[in-house]
Amino acid sequence: MTTSLQYRLPRATKIELLRLKKRLRLAEKLRDLLRDKMIVLLQELYATALRASNLRRKLNELLLEVYVGFTEAYATRGRATLEATALGVSEPKVKVMTRSSMGVLLPVVEVDIEDGHSYPVELHILNARRKEVIETLLELSESEKALEILATEISRTKRKVEALDKVLIPRLKSLIRSLEMKFEEMEREERVRSIKVKRILEVRHGGI
């Protein structure tokens, strides 16, 4: 049965053999390089996962504090005061930039919260916590997006390594082996032929 994955045996010449060996060396070099790249990306993934986990823990703790603070402020100041104060709160300025890790572009989020207002004591603490919550939340989103991008890139690199390791390199090796076997066979044939010719000549000379 013929499939598209089947390949033709190249012409049995020494030049073809040399070319195949060169291709094999290149493929092996590339496989090692891609493996190294994958290791570095995995390292980055591990570091990002560590960071994301720390940030999530920090965010949960902060939110707990903020909820308690908000309930207290609501109880002491009342809804109207809180709403009036909220109107004066400035919106954070968010800048999204990029950083590169092994050619993979990952997001870098910078947040700038300017707030020159003065608030009553409870609200001042609450406002400080709000800034922290926004910063942590944005950093967490940055880390989780980076995790997603890194995981995609790692799986792509892994596919390439597997393609080299399980398809291209074994195919080249088997082609080289079959060519070498063909050359050995040709050599044997040649030797047998020369022996036979030698014998025939000996018989002829002996007969004369």
Partner: protein, 155 residues
């Protein structure tokens, strides 16, 4: 070889060409980056690597004004295969001592002029200061092997 194999090979050759294209065209000093509104460096593939201001400020606190002018960012960490696992090398003395300061460990940077890092140390650095560093695959594996051998013999 079939035509399909030729295409695969061409793809892989281009991969080989672009493997270290994420390195900066020219690195900038810490002092220079601190003055920029958006501290970024241009990379060889045309993209930009931006460094978080908070990380720059943290680094500036650790260094004296002279070193702030000399330290070039991002710090390049070279990855290569050691005897059993991947090892990471920081070559420049100043950069190596900065790594020591950030990790809070004495790795012998001032005596040897470089530091060899284990994967866990790199993970620690990258998780705390993700934008300050860039990892590259070492062109010469020999140097990494020699450095890691030197370190393991000391331990």
């Amino acid at each position: 070889m079939s035509r399909q194999d030729d295409i695969i090979e061409k793809l892989f050759k281009s991969e080989l060409r672009y493997v270290n294209k994420h390195l900066p065209v020219a690195r900038k000093s810490l002092d220079e980056l601190l003055r920029e509104p958006e501290p970024c460096v241009l990379l060889r593939d045309g993209s930009r690597h931006c460094i978080r201001k908070r990380e720059l400020k943290k680094l500036a606190e650790l260094l004296n004004p002279e070193d702030r002018k000399r330290l070039l960012l991002p710090i390049i960490i070279q990855a290569g295969r050691g005897d059993r696992e991947t090892r990471y090398l920081v070559e420049n003395v100043l950069e190596a001592s900065v790594v020591e300061m950030l990790l809070g460990q004495n790795l012998g940077a001032s005596e040897r002029g470089f530091v060899v890092l284990y994967p866990l140390q790199v993970a620690e650095l990258l998780s705390s200061y993700p934008t300050l560093f860039q990892i590259t695959i070492a062109s010469s594996q020999e140097q990494i092997e020699n450095a890691s051998l030197e370190r393991s013999s000391e331990l």
